[in-house]
Amino acid sequence: MHRALFALPVLAALTACTGVGDKDGRPSKDSVVTEGPLTTLRGSILSNQSGRVLVPIELTGDEVSFMVTAKTDDTYISLEAILDENGDEVVNWKDWLNSKSTQSLTSAFYIYGYDSVVNWPVRSEDRSLSAGTWTARFTTVDEDYRYVEDVFVDYTVQTKTDHDLESGVVKVRLVWAEGLDTRNDLQEAVAGALVRWSEIWAAAGLTVEFTEVSSDLDPELNVDSVAPFPNDAVDYGGADDDVTLVIGETINDVRGLYGQSGGLPGTLVSTANAAVYVSWLTNAGRDGEFEEFEVLLLGETMAHEVGHYLGLFHPVEASYDYYDALDDTVECTSYSKCESQLGENLMFPYPLCSFTDCEPQGNLTVDQRAVMNLYTGAL
């Protein structure tokens, strides 16, 4: 953990270039900023003739993880592969999205928006980083999944050199939709929820540092994977090292795929999907008032949703036939087995509840903790 370094952010280097990547798909670097253990490099590039985007990741050998965020204006983009300094593939989407696959590693492989985010390594068992220039290879495609060339792509490469993977700080920026920040009942409920969330994540060695932001966002949140909302449209003071959590009244989610988390993992920089969304109303139950047990569940929901954002999948989906890619979360095949073996896990897809009681659900396995600590924003 390098908390002290955050107090003294250091602008290590700033370079500026003009133009964008050239027609051969060569990148243009725009800026490099280092703050403590986190370095953020921004650049741009055009997709090449085969619809590929090769984002360079320059590593000194001191980094423990990187995150690449690539976004376009209006073209779907997804990760195809990561290559090491020798050009050898470290991971390829075909190994994870095929007819035999029953595990999820990263949402970066999915074609669902105009941005794609990958954090590497995902797991402690994944290939660790080595010095040299690695490459994240993305593809730009149209609605019919045909490759598209000459697409302008903004990319951000973030690396962290925090070698302490047992503990860290995750900065979370709470954005209140308009008018909600003045409601004492919601303030108290969220404050209690943050305590429960912090307690759960403490088991992973992670401290959550919260800041709050008021906004003019409509409390009836419309969430769309390809709409520039809300972070692209309005700057609510986000930095390149924090996770955004938007609290609204209701969520009209047309993303479908992930529910409330903007990605698995989600990005630290601004994109259409750079936020986690929580509806206070659905968490307040039939009477719309927060009881104590609902505050606890709200905390677990926040810890769960932002857990997705840090890269955690459900250990088993509610269909009981699809799993995360971690060794220490069992691959159960029926609801009764899954509930008994994984029901207390934070990332189980639903809390175990009768109509009147829920079991506490905050456990994290060793492998899950490793994923969280390898997230580039866990510093």
Partner: protein, 178 residues
């Protein structure tokens, strides 16, 4: 941080964690066909005995994310209207089960459940359900949306309903709030 008195809250929550969240099981008399045992005045809280299909609907609606599809939930039971109403009215936990049940009722079974939906709009103890339905007015057939909005504006939730109805896209419904 404007978060109030974190210490008090953390102590409160710690007491939860130590004391356990589950209440003691209540011995309930057997009820025919798993029908719910309704609360009796002067007795400890209600014991809910959902039927198999009600339990299935409840479990499906309990999933945190992604939100289950209402048609899929309705397909779990031969009596979707009755079972969704039951979950909306009796499922305290998780809190999103009841609000989602109300939403599924309105979107998929609005006419059949209309009496119940209208009752919620005027019931402060169902404020969460009412606010959820107000957020869906633009997704509902106009006659049903009008009736729900009118019921909300005529009852004790009028103050909370009015600004929400004033935001809907349907001009006829929106006019009710003016």
């Amino acid at each position: 941080m404007r978060l109030p008195d974190m210490l008090t809250l953390s102590l409160l929550l710690l007491s939860f964690a130590c004391g356990g969240r589950k209440s003691e099981p209540v011995d309930a008399p057997a009820t025919p066909d798993g029908a719910p045992t309704l609360p009796v005045e002067g007795q400890p809280g209600p014991t809910i005995n959902p039927t198999e299909s009600q339990a299935a609907v409840h479990k499906a609606l309990s999933v945190r994310d992604p939100e289950p599809d209402c048609a899929d939930v309705s397909a779990l039971t031969p009596e979707p209207v009755a079972d969704l109403i039951f979950v909306a009215n009796h499922a305290d936990q998780p809190p999103w089960a009841s609000t989602r049940a109300a939403r599924c009722l309105a979107l998929g079974h609005g006419e059949a459940a209309k009496a119940e939906l209208i009752a919620w709009m005027g019931d402060p103890s169902a404020k969460g359900l009412a606010l959820m339905l107000l957020a869906e007015l633009d997704q509902l057939p106009e006659p049903l949306a009008m009736e729900l909005a009118q019921a909300a504006l005529a009852g004790p939730l009028a103050d909370e309903a009015r600004p929400r109805i004033a935001k809907v896209e349907n001009a006829n419904v929106r006019a009710l709030a003016l």
